[in-house]
């Protein structure tokens, strides 16, 4: 197997006395969806934030293509090919869907310190934005203000923006959050499609989607990794049943 795109080694984050993420070592490969599941408060979003640079780790390393990126700012990490979508929709509401993606795509230009030529004349950037919108199936809604989009469409836009930055690894934090049946199915289809070109980390609560998509599963509880393996292994594991899956099935 080729080297991991992203690898964490004993990654830890303390908030005061509390270890939100504790000694986590994971690997993410291209053409593989590595899902991270666990009960609320398990540290999944904190882990995502550590990988994207939105939070700084307390100790441990994060290797992107073999280079330690722990401590780098979010913008530098993004420029190195890490794309992240947020659990709570984090788009530019006053802008159109197109402008949201265009702004994302623009970030890949060597510099945006250009003061004269209109932004819309940068055809490559606009093309890239439309490509990203088309990939998630939103091209027909391109001129709508993001605030006018439905919740599901906004989640799609969230992903489209990340795709417009042409990342090598996607960190997806609950992309299916708040979606109904049909929207979820479409999102699952999209995620499946994206797999071959990206390494993907998927944080999700929707167990049907997780088991349909994941090539590898990691279960986190209270900041630590409880178990990591193939979907079948995880499904069969007694420890996981007790800690998480059992209670999930009861609630669903």
């Amino acid at each position: 197997m080729a080297d991991a795109v992203l690898r964490t080694e004993r990654l830890t984050k303390h908030f005061g006395g509390l270890a939100a993420v504790n000694d986590v070592s994971l690997e993410f490969y291209t053409d593989q969806i590595h899902a991270v599941i666990g009960p609320n408060g398990a540290g999944k979003t904190t882990l995502t934030s550590l990988l994207s640079g939105d939070l700084v780790s307390t100790s441990g390393s994060i290797y992107l293509d073999g280079e330690d990126i722990a401590g780098l700012s979010a913008d530098r990490i993004s420029q190195r090919g890490v794309g992240r979508s947020y659990q709570k929709t984090n788009i530019f509401l006053p802008f159109t869907a197109f402008e949201n993606c265009r702004l994302a795509a623009q970030s890949r230009l060597p510099s945006s310190m250009r003061f004269t030529r209109p932004a819309l004349r940068y055809a490559d950037v606009s093309r890239e934005a439309l490509r990203a919108l088309a990939e998630v199936g939103l091209e027909h809604r391109a001129q709508e203000p993001a605030a006018a989009l439905s919740h599901g469409e906004q989640r799609q836009l969230e992903i489209a923006m990340t795709l417009a930055t042409r990342p090598r690894i996607l960190l997806l934090d609950e992309p299916l959050a708040g979606m109904g049946g049909e929207e979820s199915a479409r999102m699952v289809e999209l995620l499946q499609k994206l797999k071959c070109a990206h390494a993907m980390m998927l944080v999700e609560h929707d167990m049907d989607a997780v088991f349909a998509l994941a090539d590898r599963l990691t279960v986190m509880v209270n900041g630590s990794v409880l178990e990591s393996g193939t979907p079948d292994q995880i499904r069969a594991s007694a420890a996981v049943q007790e800690a998480y899956l059992g209670s999930e099935e009861q609630h669903s």
């Binding site: 994207s52 640079g53 939105d54 700012s73 979010a74 913008d75 530098r76 993004s78 420029q79 992240r84 984090n90 788009i91 530019f92 509401l93 006053p94 802008f95 402008e99 265009r102 702004l103 994302a104 623009q106 970030s107 890949r108 230009l109 945006s112 310190m113 250009r114 003061f115 004269t116 030529r117 209109p118 932004a119 819309l120 940068y122 923006m161 930055t165």
Partner: protein, 334 residues
């Protein structure tokens, strides 16, 4: 929503009116409108910060005033400065000050940004007020207006108040066009993105600090242009030009006019100055010289405006057009 074409028409009509003003008005009004246009440039430069990048600076007068002092230094006693040299120099000086202060203040945000911008402007105020660099609290005079000579040839003279007016009008149009171009550029899109959601911009890979700093610097340089001409017109510079009443005043213009629209900044500048004049001209009432205490009325006006006009004066326009459209729509339906 108002159509862009209607807005352009209104703008062009206003521009025409401004261009024709000197033909019908007497000296007092020409000079008054010159002053208003200078403040409009000042207000637009602040709108770039407040309305478009979301950086609320309460110390913008530092850059305005520094340029005024730059002119005073370039035109000591009865010497006249050369416009083509001293104006760029003044703007560069203000821009440089903005760059230095920006590096420090842009480390903060929100309320703290407001506080530190005020504090640093105050520092610059003290520099000119407490020292002998430039006449201290007494200020210095700019006896001679800048000369627009290039190798002996003078295309116009600022000593003539009508020509001064047109020079400022041209600059107003140029600054407006420059800012429109800037806002449509790659840089402008980043700036607006930062205002809407800075954290997302960073996670998209933008080094937001740089863009904010560039914006702060450009705004400072443009404020310098306004300050230069303010000093040239008034003929006198004192530390108050850097003071926080100046900073607060221009911030009021931007907010009350309607932020993030450029047109609103111009409207705010004109409206506030007319209001100031109006209040100052009021007769004494009940033994109190209202005119002398016009700031009382201004303060009251501001308080009411904040409470009643959430989108500034331009918001009034939108409200009016909405109210006017409703009966028309009802007529169409009925």
């Amino acid at each position: 929503m108002r159509s862009p074409r209607a807005a352009t028409v209104v703008l062009l009509v206003c521009l025409l009116a401004l261009a024709l003003l000197p033909l019908v008005a007497e000296k007092y009004y020409i000079q008054l409108f010159t002053k208003m246009m200078i403040m409009a440039i000042f207000a637009m430069s602040l709108d770039l910060l407040v309305g478009y990048s979301g950086l609320v600076s309460l110390g913008h007068a530092a850059f305005f005033g520094l340029a005024g002092y730059s002119l005073a230094f370039a035109a000591p006693q009865y010497e006249a400065a050369n416009l083509w040299l001293s104006l760029p120099l003044a703007m560069a000086g203000s821009g440089l000050l903005a760059l230095v202060i920006g590096v420090l203040v842009l480390r903060t945000s929100g309320i703290y940004f407001i506080m530190v911008t005020l504090a640093f402007a105050q520092m610059v105020f003290f520099l000119f007020h407490d020292t002998k660099i430039a006449g201290g609290a007494d200020g210095i005079y700019v006896y001679a207006k800048p000369v627009a000579a290039i190798a002996g040839w003078e295309p116009f003279t600022l000593e003539n108040h009508t020509q001064f007016y047109f020079v400022v009008l041209v600059l107003l149009v140029l600054v407006y066009a420059f800012l429109r171009m800037l806002l449509a550029s790659l840089f402008g899109r980043v700036i607006v993105g930062i205002r809407v959601n800075e954290q997302r911009m960073r996670s998209l890979g933008y080094r937001t600090f740089r863009y904010k700093l560039a914006c702060f610097t450009i705004a400072g340089a443009l404020a310098g242009m306004a300050g230069y001409f303010a000093a040239a017109q008034f003929g006198f510079v004192s530390p108050d030009i850097l003071g926080w009443h100046q900073s607060g005043g221009v911030l009021m213009m931007v907010i009350l006019g309607g932020m993030g629209t450029l047109n609103g900044a111009i409207l705010g500048a004109f409206a506030m100055m007319l209001l100031e004049l109006g209040f100052q001209g009021l007769p004494a009432m009940g033994g109190v010289d209202i005119g002398k205490h016009w700031q009382l009325l201004m303060g009251g006006f501001i308080v009411f405006a904040v409470l009643l006009l959430p989108h500034g004066l331009l918001g009034l326009g939108r409200l009016a057009s909405r109210l006017l459209r409703k009966p028309a729509e009802e007529a169409a339906d009925g």
